[in-house]
Symmetry: C2
Subunit: 265 residues, 2 copies
């Protein structure tokens, strides 16, 4: 990925390189995938235009094609359009938000209470993504050592939904300020099924370049170097971080991606 111009003479090494990379997307297509990733936001302000079923089905199908442990596909997608149901979820959110505020000291508490953290009633559709640990029986290939991988798989489906929605121009917001027991009661979810994510989906009023919590000064983006580790957790990832800085230099031509790495090249 270092070579920017095609070499004039192909060597056996070049040929090997090309063979290895034969599944790579064309540059424009790869950039589109990075754009979905880097320009995805948690959306809480929605326009009132509806989201039609065909579009929603396309986005949920993207979720259904997530990886899953033992190919168990443990997720279900509850599609909630009823204003009454959404109002009940909103009421639950409001209580949880007040309860959570008790754990912040001022001035953090007031800031927390001033933030718009959901669009439950404004978004035309809400989707609750659940995980049924019994979907593929009791013995699931790959789940024996880490039972929680069924829920992990369900989270991967959520990210697929989020990125497909971004490409479609839809906004998604994840509301985690809800207790799962109450969500189960309102939506009739059986006790053994885990409500993993409650999503608000609709047409966004805006998709700002940076996360709202970053713009609000709630918390900064952690530098990449701080999350990179070497062979061992105690070893920092300095070498890789230097590579990231090189890549960032290349991406200076992409002012549309101000943060970190964009679709470099």
């Amino acid at each position: 990925m270092v070579r920017l111009a095609a070499p004039m003479i192909t060597t056996p090494s070049d040929q090997q390189d090309a063979a290895a990379r034969r599944f790579a997307f064309a540059a424009a297509d790869r950039d589109a995938v990075y754009r979905a990733i880097h320009r995805r936001r948690d959306v809480r302000l929605f326009r009132d235009e509806p989201v039609d079923d065909e579009l929603l089905a396309r986005v949920l199908t993207a979720g259904h094609h997530a990886p899953s442990v033992g190919f168990m596909q443990p997720w279900s997608f509850l599609v909630i359009r009823s204003a009454e149901t959404r109002a009940r979820i909103k009421e639950l959110y409001l209580r949880e938000r007040q309860a959570a505020a008790c754990f912040f000291d001022e001035p953090r508490r007031s800031q927390y209470l001033s933030l718009k953290l959901e669009g439950i009633c404004e978004a035309p559709v809400n989707v609750c993504v659940t995980c049924d640990p019994t979907r593929a029986g009791t013995q699931v290939l790959g789940r024996n050592s880490q039972p929680e991988t069924d829920v992990y798989s369900t989270c991967l489906a959520v990210e697929n939904i989020w990125l497909a929605a971004r490409a479609e121009g839809l906004g998604v917001g994840w509301v985690s300020i809800l207790k799962t027991g109450e969500v189960r009661d309102i939506l009739g979810i059986p006790p053994h099924v885990v409500p993993v994510a409650y999503l608000c989906i609709g047409w966004p009023v805006d998709l700002p370049p940076r996360p709202m919590l970053q713009d609000a000064g709630w918390r900064d983006r952690v530098p990449l170097r701080d999350v990179l580790r070497g062979e061992h957790y105690g070893i920092d990832g300095a070498a890789l971080d230097a590579a990231e800085l090189d890549a960032r230099r290349v991406s200076a031509d992409h002012p549309a991606m101000p943060e970190g790495l964009s679709a470099a090249r």
Copy 2:
């Protein structure tokens, strides 16, 4: 999303529609995102060409730009290239695989043992994705009602890595047949940090159109209709499923996407 040709006369409703959809990607870019999603596979057979640091940094930066509860960014990425470390992880895998086989009856047991489920030593790089629940202090915005959302966020980072890798032509395989305690010991991960995913990354020998477990007859793709629910868990998602079938008809022009919905239109 139903209109395939531009209308000759724009009405106020069309204008509203266009305004709502102004963040949508161009068709080719949207299709690229769907292609990454639908053509992603769990890869266990790798070529021996190396993966350079700049490319790996670009892929891990995609992970770092995942959504996270309270913008806590709880993940770390351990980059493991040492053959010795990978051999220790492989040894752990082999024991776990034998143990897991005890829970399957024949002929399932023999089939399980015949499947290639990892490429730990063949892949040039392994990445362990961890979650540090203390990354943003004890009180995290949005985590009060669902403490597990930090691990959920880490899973979203895994899917970003997987999809960015797919666009780059790289293969990723998630090895879940490992106990987290032993992974912690080998990689020096502190007791409070959760090893969420152990990934093998490299240039794939192949990226087949369907998941290996599906092709091997281990388990079928669940029909979309079976994972769709209405307002309530007990209500099926028949209406949406009909929309999916419509979309599938549109996508019949895309034979490259044989399963379910592709980038329709």
